[in-house]
């Protein structure tokens, strides 16, 4: 359609130019020197929305969106000058429908053949889409940049020539010392060298050679990255270095701060070494993610896991007793930090599914950054078994205590009972509950209380246990003797508890008293025996010594030719010799009878009296003595010894008769309280009560003149010996005045 008006053009044109003009995607306007639009191509018509005739009726300034811009451009171009070049700027135009669009404006001068400017060619390129695309591009870049800044990891990109393309702040922050060198375009090596120089890499070494070596290693890792590596960048800071090579040979580096993890790990390793040999199972658990960081050998062996396997597990995995919820609840105080230590009894499950009881002591270790939990687990299977066995033993012990014949009490030092066993309670007639809480001193008879309290007060830390014997009254009034062992328990030097055990010693005490009584009697008998020995020694020595002296005197007198006293001396010698013989005979009899074994039997006393009397028949006839036997008793004794006893008494009665009177002997008997009494009385000269005891001594004579009494002095002594060997006695009745009366008492039957 514009081709219909080429004739209007004042310059020659060819067909190519015209085709270009019409088919150009950009709008083209032709403006004359008077600022009139003289032509507009199809693109212009489409762009502005005006028909060609509408455009040709308009001036170019009317198409601008901005008045100031329109004026400015107009003043720049008009009036047309010869030196005016091409104008190129971005402006905004308004379409017929009022919409505004950005465009790139290119204005060229049209010159006449004379060189004078005659018009302008205005080319307008719609920039709407271009600018939109540009804006979109910018937005994406901004988002990327922000994104890079927001990630905590350090990020850097190096181009194929190993120059820094970009890095984020985290990267600079990680390599804080090297940061000033991190400028786009600097090579990786120069940045590293800068860092080395200023001490960015503590692990690089001290000497130049070490650093160079480290650098070469670092560069080779960088050039050909393999697995991630850990790099120390400050005293307490470790980063993990991940590097990749892109398809177009860029190097992308990622730096992750793993200081906490690394520190925990190193602590765990240190702890691990220490705890490796510990018999208890030890686990280190990261409180943040719940993973087991480490476990010692005991734990691994018992659980049957390897260290690698267990590092994949959490405490929940090995816990067989608690539900996840229960465990969480239990462990909550540790996680919350409100408790530092917890002890949990639970069961652990081995890899093979078996379980064992264990007591876990959980301790929170607050390290600088992340808290860790150290758990000590003790396999308490055995301990539980021991505890169960202890419980069983305790039960057995309690049963034993309850059934012991001994009294067992526990009380406070003031004797307030805290425990009594059944046996003691039964003894008092109260039940256990009635006794506990009462003071046992109140159960003690009043007169004994002060002594008992003194006894308790005498218990000291050095000598906390003492025994005492105490007579106790049972609820029914029966008296028993108890041996109490009292133990005072001290705490911090002060008495806190009294433990008393009382044992019934009634029988043994009685036995002891019997023995004491027996030994007293034995001792008495020994004294008597010693006296007997002394008497015998004395009385036998006397006549012997005299015999020798008289013999010496006879010898001296014979030597001196003196004869007056010889007869008297020899008479003395004969007398003494006879006396000696009699004494020896008596002693022999005595020893035979006195120490003869006793053979007891029951017999009528009368039978022994008859036998004794018959034995003395010669004396009876000589003295004219008479016997009145009025006994009716049965004796339980040795018949022969009793006969001897009676015979000795009868013999005395026959001997110690009053000159004018025939001896008369009367024997009676009595029985009372298990004792048979035999009373022998005569009508003789009697015995002065002063001598009531001494007559029973060996060789005791009451009458010096042996022509009156030819006794051996041993008869009564033998009587007493016989009576005592039967557990009985013989005494002289001191009251009897009409002669002598002896009372023999014998226990009837076994005592």
């Amino acid at each position: 359609m514009p081709l219909a008006h080429p004739a209007h053009l004042m310059f020659s044109s060819d067909s190519l130019l015209k085709a270009l003009y019409e088919s150009l995607p950009h709008a083209v306007l032709v403006v004359d020197a008077d600022r009139n639009i003289v032509a507009a191509n199809a693109a212009a018509q489409t762009l502005f929305g005006y028909a060609e005739r509408e455009l040709t009726a308009m001036r170019p300034g009317q198409l601008h969106a901005e008045e100031a811009e329109s004026r400015d451009i107009g003043e720049t171009l008009f009036p047309l000058g010869t030196d005016s070049g091409t104008l190129h700027r971005q402006v905004e135009f308004r379409c017929k429908d009022g919409s505004v669009f950005p465009a790139e404006l290119t204005v060229s001068h049209i010159h006449a053949e004379s060189g004078a400017p005659v018009g302008l060619v205005v080319m307008i390129r719609d920039l709407t889409e271009v600018l939109a695309a540009q804006a979109e591009q910018l937005g994406i870049e901004r988002i990327l940049k922000t994104a890079l800044e927001t990630i905590s990891e350090g990020f850097a990109v190096y181009d194929p020539d190993d120059r820094l393309v970009l890095c984020n702040n985290a990267y600079k922050e990680i390599y804080a010392i090297s940061a000033p060198a991190m400028q786009t375009g600097r090579t990786f090596e120069s940045i590293i060298r800068y860092g080395l120089e200023y001490g960015q890499y503590p692990e690089a070494g001290e000497t130049k050679e070490e650093r160079e070596q480290w650098l070469q290693m670092r560069l080779s890792n960088h050039t050909v990255p393999s697995t991630p590596m850990v790099q120390k960048v400050a005293a307490e800071r470790w980063v993990q270095v991940d590097e990749r090579v892109t398809e177009d040979n860029y190097r992308v580096g990622l730096r992750t701060d793993i200081s906490t993890l690394w520190r925990v790990k190193s602590e765990a390793e240190r702890l691990g070494t220490m705890l490796e040999g510990v018999a208890q199972e030890v686990y280190l658990v990261n409180l943040k993610d719940g993973r087991i960081l480490s476990a010692n050998r005991s734990a691994l062996e018992n659980l049957q896991y390897t260290l690698e396997e267990i590092r994949e597990l959490t405490p929940r995995d090995i816990n067989a007793d608690h539900s996840v919820f229960d465990l969480a609840e239990k462990i909550a105080p540790i996680i919350a930090g409100s408790a530092k230590v917890l002890t949990i009894d639970t069961e652990h499950m081995r890899k093979d599914g078996t379980t064992y009881a264990c007591r876990v002591r959980v301790e929170r270790l607050d390290t600088e950054s992340e808290p860790v939990v150290m758990a000590f687990a003790e396999d308490i299977t055995e301990r539980l078994a021991i505890e169960r066995s202890l419980e069983r033993k305790q039960h057995e012990f309690e049963t034993l205590v309850a059934n012991l014949p001994d009294f067992i009490t526990r009380s406070r030092p003031d004797t307030t009972l805290t425990y009594v066993n059944d046996h003691y309670a039964r003894f008092t007639g109260l039940n256990v509950d009635e006794m506990v809480g009462r003071r046992f001193i109140d159960f003690t008879p009043e007169p004994l209380r002060a002594g008992l309290m003194d006894h308790f007060a005498s218990l000291t830390l050095e000598a906390p246990i003492k025994t005492m014997e105490q007579e106790m009254v049972r609820f029914d009034g029966v008296r028993r003797w108890y041996l109490w062992s009292n133990l005072m328990v001290f705490d911090d030097g002060a008495p806190v508890e009294l433990v008393s055990v009382g044992r019934d010693i009634t029988e043994s005490r009685e036995a002891r008293e019997r023995i004491a009584a027996q030994s007293r009697e034995l001792s008495m008998r020994n004294d008597a025996l010693e006296q007997f020995g002394g008497v015998v020694s004395h009385d036998l020595k006397a006549p012997l010594r005299q015999i020798q002296l008289f013999a010496d005197m006879i010898a001296e007198d014979v030597a001196a030719g003196k004869t007056d006293d010889l007869e008297m001396y020899s008479t003395h010698v004969s007398e003494r010799a006879r006396l000696l013989q009699r004494m020896i005979t008596s002693l022999f009899e005595y020893s035979q009878l006195a120490y003869q074994a006793i053979t007891r039997k029951h017999f009528e006393v009368t039978s022994a009296i008859t036998a004794a009397w018959d034995n003395l028949s010669v004396n009876v006839v000589e003295s004219g003595g008479r016997l009145k036997d009025e006994t009716n008793a049965i004796a339980y004794a040795d018949f022969d010894l009793m006969t001897q006893l009676l015979q000795n008494l009868f013999a005395n009665s026959l001997k110690y008769r009053q000159d004018a009177r025939a001896p008369e002997i009367r024997v009676t008997s009595q029985y009372a309280d298990g004792i048979v009494s035999i009373i022998i009385e005569d009508n003789g000269i009697g015995i002065d009560p002063v001598y009531a005891e001494s007559i029973f001594g060996v060789f005791q004579r009451l009458h010096r003149d042996e022509r009156t009494y030819a006794g051996s002095g041993i008869g009564l002594s033998l009587c007493r010996r016989i009576a005592e060997s039967h557990g009985g006695s013989i005494v002289l009745d001191r009251e009897f005045r009409d002669g002598a009366r002896f009372v023999v008492q014998l226990p009837f039957g076994r005592a």
Partner: protein, 227 residues
């Protein structure tokens, strides 16, 4: 049984010995054990010109005829002089030594045993034996037995000096003495013999280290034993 036991003086009576009489019996038994009828334990201290058989702690059974007029011996008596020059026992034969004691005692031989107390008092024990002179073996036995009995004599009788404090009986006697009672009166009061009372007083004087009854009472008052 009739004869004293051979070691009577070393038997129970050794331990039972309480007074001079008892030691007389022990020494007599010792002597007769070696056929000595006479013995004499004589104190030989000082530089006197004679030995006193009656004074001090001497003990003997010599008849008066064997002593001089003053109840002692001349310093020339060889049996006693021996202990001044020797510390070992020696036996003498009557024919070898000119000893008036041996000769007048009618003995065949004699033994002289030097003895001394830990307080350095010197004694001689003389035995006049009716037998041949004891040989060295017997001499050793005699010395030994003499030393034992003498030590006991010292312990019981002579060493009162070292005993401190008075017995109840001694205090009774001091008390009565302080009230002006004579020994005879005190003997009646306490049921003792006058001799025993005097023995107690002698012991008290030695214990209190005083020389007469007045000093005894004063010392006892001072020390509060009586008041």
């Amino acid at each position: 049984m009739l004869e004293p036991d051979a070691a009577f003086h070393l038997g129970p009576e050794f331990d039972n010995a309480l007074n001079r009489m008892d030691f007389f019996r022990l020494f007599k038994a010792l002597a007769s054990n070696f056929d000595a009828r006479y013995f004499a334990l004589i104190e030989v201290g000082g530089d006197e010109t004679r030995f006193d058989a009656h004074g001090g702690h001497s003990l003997h059974n010599l008849p008066d005829a064997l002593l001089d007029a003053k109840g002692g011996f001349s310093r020339d008596e060889p049996l006693l002089a021996h202990v001044l020059v020797s510390s070992a026992a020696r036996s003498f034969d009557a024919t070898d030594v000119k000893s008036p004691l041996l000769e007048q005692g009618g003995a065949q031989s004699a033994v002289s045993v030097p003895l001394h107390t830990v307080t350095a008092k010197r004694f001689a024990l003389i035995l006049l034996c009716n037998r041949e002179r004891p040989d060295h073996k017997e001499l050793a036995l005699i010395s030994h037995e003499a030393a034992l009995v003498f030590q006991r004599y010292f312990d019981v009788i002579l060493s009162l000096d070292s005993i401190t404090g008075l017995s109840d009986r001694e205090i009774q006697i001091v008390r009565w003495t302080s009230e002006g009672k004579t020994s005879a009166e005190i003997a009646i009061i306490l049921g003792l013999s006058e001799h025993t009372v005097n023995s107690y007083i002698a012991a008290i004087l030695r214990k209190l280290q005083v020389v007469n009854r007045a000093q005894m009472v004063a010392s006892a008052l001072r020390s509060g034993m009586i008041n």
